[in-house]
Symmetry: C2
């Protein structure tokens, strides 16, 4: 049954409710209301025009229920993934009313005795999207795949790696290539309905879990596997996940996603890397296991004028000699067309097969 | 109360029972017997002279009990950390007999209903060394430490990173530097009695868990923090853990541990990296977050003659211009003396403090 989502994002919808924005923009299931008192009375498209949605924003769950949601989706991904204490009451209210609760937090709502009891009483259920089953150790089976695989990497968290992956998949399909989006984080899983939240996997098994996703995509017969990226290779907290994706997905090519004017990793004073540094550090690491080149750059120029965005794109091209574009502002068609030959024609590079 | 260990390593003691070897060589608690039918009737020191132990090797737990053990320690760390099925009977027998069972496997023995029931019935207990509490996200607090921190890295798993760390700590203490060993894996934890198995931590939290260990060591007032390394930066399965340690411990210096004649990562066909490549890839990665140099090389020349070992050491020095030695064969005094000035005098390099 298709869900009808009410999205909970109090105080965050207009700014950093990344999960809410992703599900509204790309999800296959309708969002019927957003809960955020700060924007109540307006519509999603009024607050965030790029989302092109007319869903109403309301002050609380009571008001949202007028739009007949079947599920309450937690719409933010706070650092560390803990549940804001003030949201408990709304979640309990939803479960009591028979609504499914969908959460991508590290805190597993289903393990909370109060939530579990409320779900039982209300005849509802909890989908903890980040809950991951036991994963295998990386086997190297992925090295035998003939299907070209692309991994998105970036200069920070929250720069649009998932969005770029989804737009590239859409553009590749429009060109007749049966591309498949491989979700590696909670929002991607909510959008695509499958996947694994690699950041939630025990460290030893994170590359193996990533490998299992790529193998699953290949078994579906896709012609191009596009793996959602996470974190950044110089992110002090999340690079662990980035590297698990780099080694575990064994990509044939990388696409770099950059917010070009971000000077430091969000929440840290670690400087972001320039294009050349990013290309060098990713290619140097992959060269130690299975070589893969960066084949294009997706820029996130949000907040800039079209002219300034074009200037940033021109600068990226000049500095790297690679195709570059803002796939949200200008569409992914040109960038995808420019990159595809380098990705699809690339012979599979076997390097590290199990001995 | 001090434990008296019987170590379970059937079929593995003479070869790859890394946990058994580490606990015998460096543990603070006595090993009274080893269980391995393949070597039964001999003594530890007969099979592995470098361990310098006279503990008897016996065929089964019944025979081991003649030496009055208080605990059964699982002495191997199989790939993936699963319990070999044939070991269940011995573990159940130990628990029924009132022996504590100490395990570093990924499989949590305490979560196994049959083992848990046997522990209750036998009045015994299970210490799952790899069980990790919830860890924080990396905060950057470690960047403010004045205590010099050294991380061990290597060209593969199982090359002697833990051993080198323990030997360097011993040599530093002998020189009057109050060095502290920070355990990051199951054997190190069994030896030191504290620590966290970083490979068992959820990927998002692995750097934060590492940071918490370094902060704890600093709070104890140590003058030199020596962090046990894990995996290798080009290990297809375990590099995730290596990177978590590199960013999470925020070292001021690295010590490279190499088995110089190993040509491929164990279990994979990924080529091992040469000294120059290893130095470059580690230093390049750390330069993106907090710079730290490689200051010395500990070689594992086991199996070579003294002459060949000396030739390997000379080759490492010639290729890198760094101090190098085999700290097991020749002692850690010279290497530690040569590295200490570069480590201890190094001013703390602040780079990525939280914004």
């Amino acid at each position: 049954m298709t869900r009808r989502y009410a999205i909970l994002a109090p105080g965050h919808f207009a700014t950093d409710a990344k999960t809410a924005h992703g599900v509204i923009a790309y999800g296959r299931e309708p969002v019927v209301a957003v809960i955020d008192p700060d924007c109540a009375g307006r519509r999603v498209g009024d607050v965030l025009p790029h989302l092109a949605s007319q869903a109403p924003i309301v002050a609380d769950l009571g008001a949202a229920r007028a739009f007949a949601p079947t599920a309450l989706l937690i719409g933010t991904a706070p650092k560390g993934g803990a549940l804001p204490a003030s949201w408990r009451a709304t979640i309990l209210e939803a479960l009591a009313a028979g609504l499914e609760v969908v959460s991508g937090l590290h805190d597993m709502l289903g393990d909370d005795p109060e939530f579990a009891a409320a779900a039982r009483t209300g005849g509802s259920s909890i989908w903890d999207v980040r809950r991951t089953p036991a994963a295998p150790i990386f086997s190297g089976e992925v090295y035998d795949l003939a299907t070209p695989t692309v991994l998105l990497v970036g200069n920070d968290c929250a720069v649009g790696k998932m969005t770029a992956a989804l737009e590239i998949v859409r553009a590749a399909r429009a060109r007749g290539v049966d591309a498949d989006f491989v979700p590696t984080g909670q929002t991607g899983i909510m959008i695509a309905g499958w996947g694994l939240s690699i950041d939630r996997v025990v460290a030893d098994f994170a590359p193996g879990a990533t490998e299992s996703l790529v193998l699953e995509s290949a078994r579906r017969g896709s012609e191009l596997i596009v793996v959602e990226g996470q974190g950044a290779i110089n992110h002090p907290a999340y690079a662990t996940v980035t590297l698990a994706l780099m080694y575990g997905s064994a990509p044939d090519a990388l696409v770099l996603v950059c917010a070009p004017r971000r000077s430091a990793i969000e929440g840290y004073s670690t400087p972001t890397l320039g294009y050349r540094e990013l290309i060098d550090v990713h290619e140097a690491l992959l060269a130690t296991v299975k070589p893969a080149p960066v084949v294009g750059i997706a820029l996130n120029t949000r907040g800039l004028s079209d002219d300034l965005a074009r200037a940033e794109i021109a600068r990226a091209i000049a500095q790297t000699q690679l195709p570059a574009d803002d796939v949200v502002r200008f569409g992914a068609e040109r960038l995808t067309a420019a990159m595809l030959p380098a990705i699809v024609r690339r012979p599979p590079l076997r390097a590290s097969v199990p001995a």
